[in-house]
């Protein structure tokens, strides 16, 4: 398998606070990685840098041949549109757009919109009857499924999920976990931040962070 993500000596400082202190690891194409650690360990900072939402202070983060650290504002914008699919803990849907339009928004910023394709993406996540609903008319699980459909609509190289089940009840957690399993089985590369050990166990590998440092990278079977 080819390496999709290569992180080497990655550092991020917010003033005097060191969020990442020389983190290094590699992710192969099609892998499902769980990034775990206590609050303030640098998990979200790491995922933000890999997603082009933030820039590192030092080191390199190469995703599909692109060193994110070297991209300017316009380059980061294109990178986010073309290579990354985000799934956030808070869903982050535009409240005045329907489920369909939220998916199409990602298409609009990527290239051109295709309503049929957006509709199919929602059918795929089980929201066939909810396409014209506004986020406020959807349950948390349904909103997260819209977010999953939106993350996948542009066929990203890397899916970044930040606590994807953190805001969901048990039933909805199960639905989203099932969706992530399916994505993994289809060959998507997933980097997932989670506090939930049960969810972490579903990944191929687990990266543990503490105080901005990498504590261990291990096969999930080895950590159990």
């Amino acid at each position: 398998m080819a390496t999709l993500v290569h992180v080497e000596g990655l550092r991020k400082e917010f003033g005097n606070v060191r969020a990442l202190a020389g983190v290094s690891f590699k992710v192969e194409e099609g892998e499902w990685i769980a990034i775990m650690g206590p609050s303030g360990s640098g998990k979200t900072t790491l995922i933000n840098i890999l997603g082009g939402l933030d820039t590192p202070t030092g080191g390199q983060a190469v995703v599909n041949g692109t060193d994110v650290a070297r991209l300017n504002e316009a380059g980061l914008t294109r990178y986010r549109a073309e290579k990354i699919g985000f799934i956030f803990q808070q869903f982050h849907l535009v409240p005045y757009l329907t489920a369909l339009e939220n998916v199409m928004l990602a298409q609009y910023f990527h290239s051109t919109t295709d309503e049929t394709e957006a509709h199919e993406a929602l059918v795929r996540v089980g929201l066939k009857d909810r396409v014209t609903h506004l986020p406020a008319q959807l349950s948390g699980g349904e909103q997260q499924r819209v977010a999953v459909a939106r993350a996948l609509i542009n066929h990203p190289k890397l899916v970044l999920a930040d606590e994807p089940t953190g805001n969901l009840d048990e039933a909805n957690q199960e639905t989203v976990i099932q969706l992530l399993r399916e994505l993994h089985n289809e060959g998507h590369t997933i980097l997932m931040v989670t506090h939930d050990p049960a969810l972490g166990c579903l990944a191929d590998r687990r990266i543990d962070l503490a105080h901005g440092r990498l504590v261990q990278v291990a096969r999930v079977a080895q950590t159990l």
Binding site: L53, T77, A81, F86, H92, L97, L105, A106, Y108
Partner: protein, 380 residues
């Protein structure tokens, strides 16, 4: 998708945008009414000034304006020569032109100024004359006259009464058709048709001066006077300065006032939009952060919001224009007594001005360029 997003944005913030829209519609209404007035003011004012009387005079060089005695006064002009030349030079701007010959005649041993003119044309020169009785409709009528209000009062004259004018041993008996109330020199005069004074004075075919009422701006009046002077050598053609200068000054002051008000309203409208947009920019930080995270370039995102403001300006401008036309119609009726016709060029001008004011008011949207998606998505 762009139109879809635009509509959704407009719909989502309709509460706030209605405030900006009301400001834009009100601003556009007043601006279009003022601009309509500005375009039409020259025509209306010149019409108003024409009601005040003559604004051009043709007189002999170094003319005296009346003759006290003798048929050999040097301050006279040949009526046929002047009037025929004037007829050739007559354009549609000339509202009226009346020859005058003044004499001081006796009425019951009292001296009275008698103005001989074309009475049909004289009433066109000054349409504001109030006549109690009836006007004299024909310039050939040598048996009827109009009497000024003060003369009628002093001599106890009324319409229908007979009047005997004596001058240098000649007399003329005429019937008073009406009493005129002018608020000017004519209140102290007896106004007769020209042949009456010419016969009394023995000056057949002679006139003392010609008064003209010419439509147009002070510039066009002066230009017409110059052309007239060239075609009438030996005569003096001069604008009545008080009228033309007052007209010019009033026009420029009104224009300045209107333009200042338009500017002020534009600034106020822009400020109102600015306040709305500042609040809206704060509200939309999260949307912008998310759009950026999804790969939306700032130009594309801000372009959406600017289009929203542009649509608002255009709609506000257009709606305001329609209200403004009605407003100017009402203002015209109130101020000038006649409706001000709608000028269609006002529509694109007002819409462009409103869109400009709205876009200038959208400056706070620039702040959205600084939104950091990571910060917004953390919920900060």
């Amino acid at each position: 998708m762009f139109t879809r997003l635009l509509w959704k944005l407009l719909h989502a913030s309709r509460g706030r945008l209605v405030i900006a829209l009301v400001a834009l519609v009100s601003g556009a209404a007043v601006i279009s009414a003022l601009l309509n007035l500005q375009f039409d003011i020259e025509r209306k004012l010149t019409q108003e000034f024409r009601a005040l009387g003559a604004n051009l005079v043709i007189a002999p060089s170094h003319a005296a304006q009346s003759i006290g005695s003798g048929a050999d006064s040097p301050a006279l002009m040949d009526q046929a020569a002047v009037m025929s030349q004037l007829e050739k030079m007559r354009t549609q701007e000339v509202v009226a032109a009346a020859p005058y010959l003044y004499i001081i005649a006796q009425v019951r041993t009292k001296p009275v100024i008698v103005a001989g003119t074309w009475l049909d044309e004289a009433t066109k020169l000054a349409p504001t004359w109030r006549i109690a009785g009836s006007p004299v409709a024909s310039r050939e009528d040598a048996t009827s006259c109009l009497v000024g209000r003060n003369v009628a009062q002093q001599l106890k004259l009324a319409p229908g009464a007979q009047l005997e004018l004596s001058y240098l041993g000649r007399t003329a008996r005429i019937t008073i058709a009406g009493v005129v109330d002018v608020g000017g020199a004519e209140d102290n005069q007896v106004l007769v048709n020209l042949p009456v004074t010419q016969d009394l004075a023995g000056l057949t075919g002679q006139i003392g001066l010609v008064q003209l009422s010419v439509n147009g701006t002070p510039k066009t009046i002066t230009s017409y006077a110059q052309r007239l002077a060239t075609s009438l050598p030996g005569f003096e053609v001069r604008p009545i300065r008080q009228v033309t200068e007052a007209e010019g000054e009033l026009l420029s002051r009104i224009r300045l006032l209107i333009l200042s008000m338009v500017l002020l309203i534009l600034v106020l409208t822009g400020l109102c939009v600015l306040a709305t947009m500042a609040a809206l920019a704060m509200e939309r930080r999260e949307d912008v952060g998310l759009m950026k995270a999804l790969g939306g370039s700032i130009s594309r995102i801000v372009g959406l919001f600017l289009a929203e403001v542009g649509v608002l300006g255009a709609v506000g401008g257009l709606a305001g224009c329609i209200a403004g036309v009605a407003l100017s119609h009402w203002m015209g009726q109130r101020v000038f007594g006649t409706a001000i016709s709608a000028r269609w060029e006002i529509f694109p001008l007002t819409v462009a001005l409103m869109a400009g004011a709205a876009l200038a008011g959208a400056l706070p949207l620039r702040r959205l360029g600084n939104v950091k998606p990571a910060v917004i998505l953390r919920g900060e």
